[in-house]
Subunit: 340 residues, 2 copies
């Protein structure tokens, strides 16, 4: 049924070797043979068997993404954009992108070793890094090629792409302070996550720099969902000395924060300012529109995709430590006068 090099070879009365070389445009094949082989291959509908090639080349030509079900959800718009862009880069390069889901934290490292050991993939993509990430330690220890979406707080050396959350947070807090806010809160996901760690760091640093007090009870942890934002805001607003501004770790949380404020009969932007991180499409169309720190998701995806390709090919990664700069997008939720 399926056509192999052997079939072509028989047809054109040449050896399999010659056919292989002809198809790969080797110089030491006569033009006539090359043409004949190509024509015949076309005619017979030859499609190379990549599995055989992989066995011979000892390369899987594939990249693995292991997605913790407790980690970034595919439905997270930002992550979806990153993933799309990365998948695009990877398929463009002729490699496969394999996705698998892992449910329990205790199973989170084994799949990496397994997939690489089994030769399913050449390199893996680690997402949602934590400050002290077992996965990274494991991969480094076993010398498994990988690229991380995010840094860690250890002084380990490995390729990563990350966003400068501290800087983004700094410009956001400065913006709020300029508007006169003195009691600013931050609600983020677990501080175990490197991203959240840097958000908190930027938060504290900005307050300090402006000579403002840091109220630790205004730094809270919550789920990275709209619901999580809602709950956190409720708690914060019920405090005596409630904050006049609430920053959320991501835009979905920020939308939840806005809901909570509105449900208390307060006005977002005047009574309480709100801001998020990400700049998902909803940020622009919410009521009021949402001030946010834009994360360059597509660029992240492109870059991480390219790095993964190099890593999978065993090439040196040209620029292995990439820190992308976010951009502050000011909208109505911090400044109602804005009519965008």
């Amino acid at each position: 049924m399926t056509v192999t090099l052997k079939d072509i070879a028989r047809q054109v009365n040449r050896s399999v070797t010659t056919v292989s070389r002809a198809l790969h445009d080797y110089a030491d094949v006569s033009p006539e043979t090359r043409a004949l082989v190509r024509r015949t291959a076309e005619q017979l509908g030859y499609v190379p068997n990549v599995v055989a090639r992989r066995l011979q080349k000892q390369r899987a030509d594939a990249i693995g993404l292991i997605l913790p079900s407790y980690g970034p959800r595919l439905s997270d718009p930002l992550f979806a954009d990153i993933l799309s862009a990365a998948a695009d880069e990877i398929t463009r390069a002729g490699l496969d992108l394999l996705i698998s889901i892992v449910h329990r934290p205790e199973d989170e490292v084994a799949p990496y070793y397994q997939r690489v050991g089994e030769r399913r993939v050449d390199s893996v993509w680690v997402v949602h890094t934590r400050c002290h990430d077992r996965r990274i330690a494991y991969l480094l220890e076993r010398r498994i090629p990988f690229v991380a979406g995010g840094r860690v707080l250890e002084d380990w050396v490995f390729p990563y792409v990350d966003v400068d959350y501290a800087r983004g947070m700094h410009s956001l807090v400065s913006h709020l302070i300029q508007l006169g806010h003195r009691r600013i809160a931050f609600a983020g996901e677990s501080a175990e996550l490197t991203a959240v760690h840097y958000q908190r760091e930027g938060f504290r640093h900005a307050l300090q720099e402006h000579g403002l007090a840091i109220y630790e009870d205004l730094i809270v942890e919550s789920n990275p969902t709209q619901r999580g934002g809602y709950d956190a805001a409720q708690t914060l607003l019920s405090r005596r000395d409630a904050p006049t501004a609430i920053i959320a770790g991501n835009d979905m949380m920020a939308l939840g924060v806005m809901s909570a404020i509105q449900d208390q009969g307060l006005e977002v932007g005047s009574d309480v300012a709100v801001a998020g991180f990400g700049d998902i499409p909803l940020a622009e169309t919410s009521h009021p529109t949402l001030t946010t720190v834009r994360v360059p998701a597509q660029q992240m995806g492109r870059v991480v995709g390219q790095m993964l390709v190099m890593s999978a090919r065993g090439q040196e990664i040209s620029n292995p430590y990439v820190l992308l700069q976010p951009e502050l997008i000011i909208r109505q939720s911090t400044d109602l006068d804005l009519w965008l």
Copy 2:
């Protein structure tokens, strides 16, 4: 560096054949040998090379998802949930799920043939089916194993999982009519999509059944985004004889519809009723909360995943035509009295 069967064989002084059989629990291996082999494999850290196995078995043990960049976005919450559940089923079965992105409609069929021909995948998953879908025609013609997420309007026979949009729409329209609405609009994506076709069909059918006129100019097409819903609502509301209820093809569009209504100074739920399809998390937390036809995304994913696994294994699919029933979720956007 990497341990193969040969290494184990040498170590235990047996043939490669025996080692292979021992590891696969064949009956014709002595208990001692089996134990010895297992122990040694463990000790040496043997990991089977699936590429070699695939070549020998002539199976890729993998499933391909080819995602049109103009089709369902990964960030579509519903699709993300379907995909997660399917990926879970697939990896549980020991198969790989490969994702690739295709950009141009003219390139949308070739990748299927290529991936299967190259033996990268055994079976493919077609999403976002259209009424007359070239992809399905192509796959059937070439006898490529596949499972479709959605039906077509041809009388072709192939395995699919779909949602009964017509029925969902019917109960939604009935609900609105009961509330007294007579001018109901529907804004959906292109009617080329089977899902939208059935939504329209259910829409017309429900009106007919209740003896109401069908105003064709209240059936409009728009992008499946919040923006698309916003624009469609603006157009609809500017008509003389504007509708008193607007149904959107999905929840994101419905949110856009709500924004447009609010921006015109009208109240959602009293002045104009709004409903969507999907029941994404945002539907429950929007202001007002959104009436919607719940799509059982996770179940869809599980089912399609299981079907793909059977298909990839060359097994007969036990129940190849699955039509899942949606559920009407009534919230404030059609009935402001509801205090949920």
